[in-house]
């Protein structure tokens, strides 16, 4: 088990190296000159040259890459061109809202989608099933920001139940913290619920036709026990897999949702940094998101062994 985790961790290194090369190349081979952007409109060419030297932008591209990687491994993400601060500090400032939003979204999604999927499979062909399936098609088609604005319009503007936008840190009170996160996390969870409910339905349906389910029913076990202990347990692997794959959707959605709800998180930071052509920040955020995505999927792979003891590594 332990050796398996280590082996998988090592196997992610080439992937991450390729991501690093791509992210670096992509953002360093751009037309805009970051040195003159930082210097501003009033700068002389001497100022620009000075900034270029200070940031190492005058060195060959390959050595720039290795300087960057070396700093990265030492935990130094560089200095933001635009915010004039250490990128690591910038990311640390912004990581809280994003983690809070994502965690709440995953909680909602799993708590809503898994029971929906189980019921849809159990009552296959019923109105519940049709509603769940219809919702899952809709969830994939209605863009995150449209859902966000509909929810804002109904619950924040018309009904005034929840705040329209913004974010409140946990230290300023639990009520405000949750209140500000309800709408964005519901918005973000729609596509995730669609995805998980669909997979749950399919894999539970498959399990329900197994002999041991019939045996369990024949023993006179109540439906609840059969569904939860026999069906869901055996259907868990594909469900957990899709939760892992869905992290990519979640990350994409975070960028949009944070913009809609004016949440000062990493997604908002990404968009601001791209608009300002702030390479170090963009590189750091994309790398960070990719590392999180790859590692979370590693966690999912490891989770299989707990969910299904037949799987051994």
């Amino acid at each position: 088990m332990f050796t398996y985790i280590v082996r998988r961790l090592v196997a992610t290194i080439p992937v991450m190296a390729i991501v690093a090369v791509m992210v670096f190349a992509m953002l360093r081979l751009t037309p805009g000159d970051p040195a003159s952007i930082i210097a501003g409109a009033a700068a002389t060419s001497q100022d620009v040259a000075e900034i270029r030297t200070r940031l190492g932008l005058d060195r060959p591209i390959v050595s720039q890459f290795f300087i960057w990687i070396g700093h990265l491994l030492g935990g130094d993400l560089g200095e933001s061109f635009f915010f004039k601060r250490q990128v690591a500090d910038l990311v640390l400032d912004r990581v809280g809202p994003t983690v809070a939003l994502s965690t709440m979204t995953i909680l909602w999604s799993v708590l809503i989608a898994v029971p929906l999927g189980v019921v849809a499979a159990w009552k296959q062909g019923s109105w519940v099933d049709r509603v769940v399936m219809g919702f899952s098609v809709l969830g994939f088609s209605v863009p995150v920001f449209v859902i966000g604005y509909v929810l804002i319009y109904v619950f924040a503007i018309k009904l005034s139940w929840l705040p329209v936008q913004g974010y409140q840190p946990l230290r300023d009170g639990l009520g405000g913290f949750i209140g500000h996160l309800v709408l964005p996390s519901l918005t973000l969870s729609v596509i995730y619920i669609a995805l998980i409910a669909r997979i749950t339905r399919t894999s539970v349906l498959e399990v329900l036709s197994e002999d041991y389910i019939r045996t369990a029913h024949a023993k006179g076990l109540p439906n609840r026990i059969v569904l939860m202990r026999h069906a869901l347990r055996n259907a868990a692997v594909p469900i957990v897999t899709v939760i892992g794959i869905g992290i990519a959707l979640l990350i994409g959605g975070v960028v949009v949702t944070e913009s809609v709800f004016s949440i000062p998180g990493l997604g908002r930071l990404t968009v601001d940094a791209v608009l300002a052509r702030d390479y170090p920040t963009v590189q750091a955020v994309i790398l960070l998101f990719s590392v999180v995505y790859v590692l979370l999927n590693l966690v999912v792979d490891v989770a299989y062994t707990f969910l299904d003891p037949r799987i051994r590594y």
Binding site: V146, V255, V274, L275, I286, F289
Partner: protein, 306 residues
């Protein structure tokens, strides 16, 4: 009809005609095709459908609510009343015209991304599936690309060049290519073991005709399905990029741009966000439904998996 007869029909090799007939009977496919066709008509006929120039700024007519009446003066001095069916935005531009013209950007992006991603992915997938020495390297690069969430990769790519239609298309194609490559490669790997491929190799068929004649046709049904889903994703991502302000320049009417412009005054004038949103959601839904229908008909094995 007896079960035996049904089975015989289903096991008969599918013809284009038979597949079309089966698709035409599927209500979701019919709905999808109908909505998509309507969007195409709207995009093509935009100049005749709307009375206003989508780019014309009118300071007097700012933030009109849907249905309000405007007076238009023709060249000969005569006047006529025209309705802003969807109101106007904060610059006084007619939202209905912008929404109609916005269909163009969405459709162009959706279709060209689907075609380009499938073409590039197919070429790479066929080669890597068939040439073993290329496989390892290319698949590692694809893994790397897939490790970056699609929207992030698109946002980063679009910032590389000056914003425009072509840049947006390229930025959306790149994250989609690895998915196509994986699909094609998996089909190639399974087909390569088939007896008829071995037979073709043993009679000395050169590599290129072998790939084109014996392997390529097997990849087409799943690819058509995949292309439809890519089209839907592309329409969505284009709107997201425009909405975030990193996509097609804001003066061009696209659904995402209209919504981005409308969001500042959303509390008072929600129509600027909702109308383009409805059209966007409807077209993506239509294309997705079309994809589901195509999948059930062309690629029945997929149905069991999802």
């Amino acid at each position: 009809m007896s079960t035996a007869a049904t089975a015989a029909i289903e096991s008969a090799p599918p013809t284009v005609e038979g597949v079309t007939r089966r698709l035409a009977r599927d209500p979701t496919v019919v709905f999808g095709v109908a909505v998509f066709a309507l969007m195409c008509v709207m995009a093509l006929a935009a100049p005749w459908l709307t009375a206003f120039d989508p780019a014309a700024i009118d300071p007097v007519a700012r933030n009109k609510t849907p249905g309000s009446v405007a007076v238009m003066r023709a060249d000969d001095g005569s006047t006529r009343e025209v309705r802003h069916w969807m109101g106007t935005d904060s610059l006084g531009r007619d939202v209905a015209s912008r929404v109609a013209y916005g269909a163009r950007a969405s459709l162009i992006v959706g279709v060209s991304v689907a075609v380009l991603a499938v073409a590039i992915g197919l070429a790479i997938g066929l080669l890597t599936g068939y040439l073993r020495w290329l496989d390892g390297l290319v698949m590692r690069i694809m893994d790397g690309l897939m490790a970056i969430p699609a929207i992030l990769l698109a946002i980063a790519l679009v910032s590389l060049s000056s914003a425009g239609l072509a840049a947006v298309i390229v930025a959306i194609v790149v994250p989609e290519v690895p998915r196509v490559v994986r699909l094609v490669r998996s089909v190639v790997l399974s087909v390569r073991e088939e007896p008829y491929v071995e037979a073709a190799i043993s009679v000395g068929t050169p590599t290129l005709p072998l790939i084109l004649r014996h392997i390529l046709p097997n990849t087409l049904p799943p690819l058509i399905v995949q292309a439809t889903y890519i089209c839907a994703t592309a329409i969505l991502i284009e709107a997201i990029l425009s909405f975030l302000g990193v996509g097609i320049p804001p003066e061009t009417p696209t659904w995402g741009n209209i919504m981005a412009e409308g969001r500042t005054l959303f509390r008072v004038y929600p129509h600027n966000v909702f109308y383009p949103g409805i059209f966007l959601a409807l077209s993506v839904l239509a294309v997705n439904l079309l994809g589901d229908g195509l999948r059930d008909t062309l690629d029945p094995r997929m149905r069991k998996r999802l």
